[in-house]
């Protein structure tokens, strides 16, 4: 992608297009990776609600798997996940293992 020159920038670095975070992929920042365990998922969608990016996908109103291109491994989804009978539906594992 050709980078813009200083004359082409919006004053004050204001972003004018809504929802353009889709162009900014944060997956490479990750040290820990969330793993979804469907068998423990109660479909509360807390993970979708709490995810600060757009790493949790929902299809036909149901939880779908992670989109790791937008997951920086913050772990909020795993923390908020109520799980089923004390068993988490999202667990964090170290990358590379």
């Amino acid at each position: 992608m050709k980078l813009k020159g200083w004359r082409e920038l919006t004053p004050g670095a204001v972003i004018l297009e809504a929802g353009n975070a889709v162009e900014f992929k944060t997956g490479s920042w990750r040290a820990f990776k969330p793993i979804w365990k469907q068998e423990n998922c109660i479909q509360c969608l807390f993970c979708w609600l709490f995810c600060p990016d757009m790493a949790v996908k929902v299809k036909d109103g149901k939880r779908a798997d992670f989109d790791y291109e937008y997951c920086k491994g913050c772990g909020i989804c795993a923390l908020e996940c109520p799980g089923k009978k004390g068993k988490k539906a999202i667990v964090m594992v170290e990358e590379g293992n």
């Binding site: 980078l3 813009k4 020159g5 200083w6 004359r7 920038l9 919006t10 004053p11 004050g12 670095a13 204001v14 972003i15 004018l16 809504a18």
Partner: protein, 393 residues
């Protein structure tokens, strides 16, 4: 129709803010600015303005609230002095970087330590390179006039930059002077309706403020800011022309007083320029070709125009009411020296530091300096390039 009143500098600036009737004001009291915002708060309480005032717990919060309100789409004001401006420092750069046209009177006061409440320029000089526009004011009339013009300069579509209006603490803020107020309607027409370019509160077109800009773009944004600063002098002159039509008062980038055929001159900011002009007159009466230059637009500094105005002189003394503890010269001296740097023929420059912490500046000080300049012209010798005056040895 204008109205002639007797008022303090703070009162005059507060009245200018009343006439503009901004949308939002977030401020924190600090001497010697307190009276200014106390008077403006009275206008709010009495229903004379529709401004929403935000009570904050510090100047850091005051400027932060101003940034938020300005990004949201409001016409925003605040005011401060000294430590208050120092506490705002971090957010000053955010206001200018986001190109938010906040208007802020700065009632100049010395910085701690040692703690001191009186007038000097250390506070605003510390913020001179924060990306804000700075207008400096000799007296209460100019502070009032600059405040009104500041809105048009800040909100100009080609720039959108925050503006500080500097006036000397106590000497101007608390002294009663004769001031001509414009009519409320004239001021309202002059400043006009304000429309934010990209307001956060426009939910039809959502925008984001304050993104992370790293190595790939940061330098381009800084270059763009540098470039936009170069447009400011032209805008300041255009606004001054329009202001003259309603007020009859003429303003420029700087005040060149008896400078055209002068051989020696003083460069001095704000209230002390008034004292110095009287002394220049006395010297003129004695046949000495003396003059004075008083910067009004100090940031961006009109280097080219000031260089042109001073280059023909034989000797110039720059008087600084703040020192820059860089082991070199006062801040105004450094700028004046830079403005003359490119000329082959230029005046000999000396620097005097005066009036720190509100120390009185008397006509005798100006006379002493002018006599020294005459001696320098005669002998071609400079004893000291930088010296404190009015200080006990």
């Amino acid at each position: 129709m204008s109205k002639v009143v007797a008022a303090t500098g703070n009162e005059a600036v507060a009245n200018a803010l009343r006439q503009v009737d901004p949308d939002v004001c977030a401020a924190y009291p600090i001497t010697p600015q307190t009276e200014l915002m106390q008077r403006f708060a009275s206008f709010v309480s009495d229903g004379q303005v529709k401004t929403e005032t935000i009570l904050v717990e510090s100047e850091h919060s005051a400027m932060s609230a101003c940034v938020g309100a300005a990004a949201a789409g409001g016409r925003v004001v605040t005011a401060t002095s000294s430590q208050g401006l120092a506490l705002m420092w971090e957010i000053l750069f955010i206001a200018s970087g986001l190109r938010l046209p906040i208007v802020m009177p700065v009632v100049n006061r010395a910085l701690s330590a040692p703690i001191n409440i009186h007038g000097d320029h250390s506070d605003a000089m510390g913020a001179r390179d924060s990306g804000w526009i700075q207008l400096w004011s000799e007296n209460a009339q100019e502070a009032y006039d600059n405040t009104i013009q500041a809105f048009r300069i800040a909100e100009h579509m080609d720039t959108r930059l925050p503006v500080m209006i500097c006036l000397d603490g106590f000497i101007i803020s608390h002294s009663i002077e004769r001031i001509e107020y414009l009519d409320d309607d004239e001021v309202k027409n002059f400043v006009g309706e304000y429309r934010q370019l990209h307001p956060l509160l426009n939910i039809e077109h959502p925008v984001s403020y304050g993104p992370l800009i790293l190595t790939d773009y940061y330098m381009e944004y800084r270059k763009a800011h540098d470039e936009v600063m170069t447009k400011v002098p032209g805008i300041v002159l255009d606004v001054a022309k329009d202001f003259e039509k309603i007020s009859g008062r003429k303003y420029s980038l700087f005040d060149a007083y008896r400078l055209e055929d002068a051989e020696v001159a003083l460069v001095i900011l704000n209230s002390a320029a008034g004292t110095s002009k009287d002394v220049v007159d006395e010297f003129r009466n004695r046949g000495v070709k003396a003059g004075l230059l008083k910067p009004r637009l100090y940031r961006p500094f009109p280097y080219k125009e000031i260089g042109e105005a001073l280059k023909h002189l034989k000797a110039v003394c720059v008087l600084d009411r703040a020192d820059a503890f860089g082991g070199s010269y006062g801040p105004v001296f450094i700028d004046i020296a830079a403005s003359l740097y490119s000329y082959k023929e230029k005046p000999i420059l000396i620097n005097k530091i005066y009036g720190l912490g509100g120390r009185d500046y008397f006509p005798e000080h100006a006379a002493l300096v002018l006599n020294e300049l005459i001696e320098i012209v005669k002998t071609g010798e400079v004893k000291t390039f930088k010296e404190y005056i009015g200080v006990r040895q």
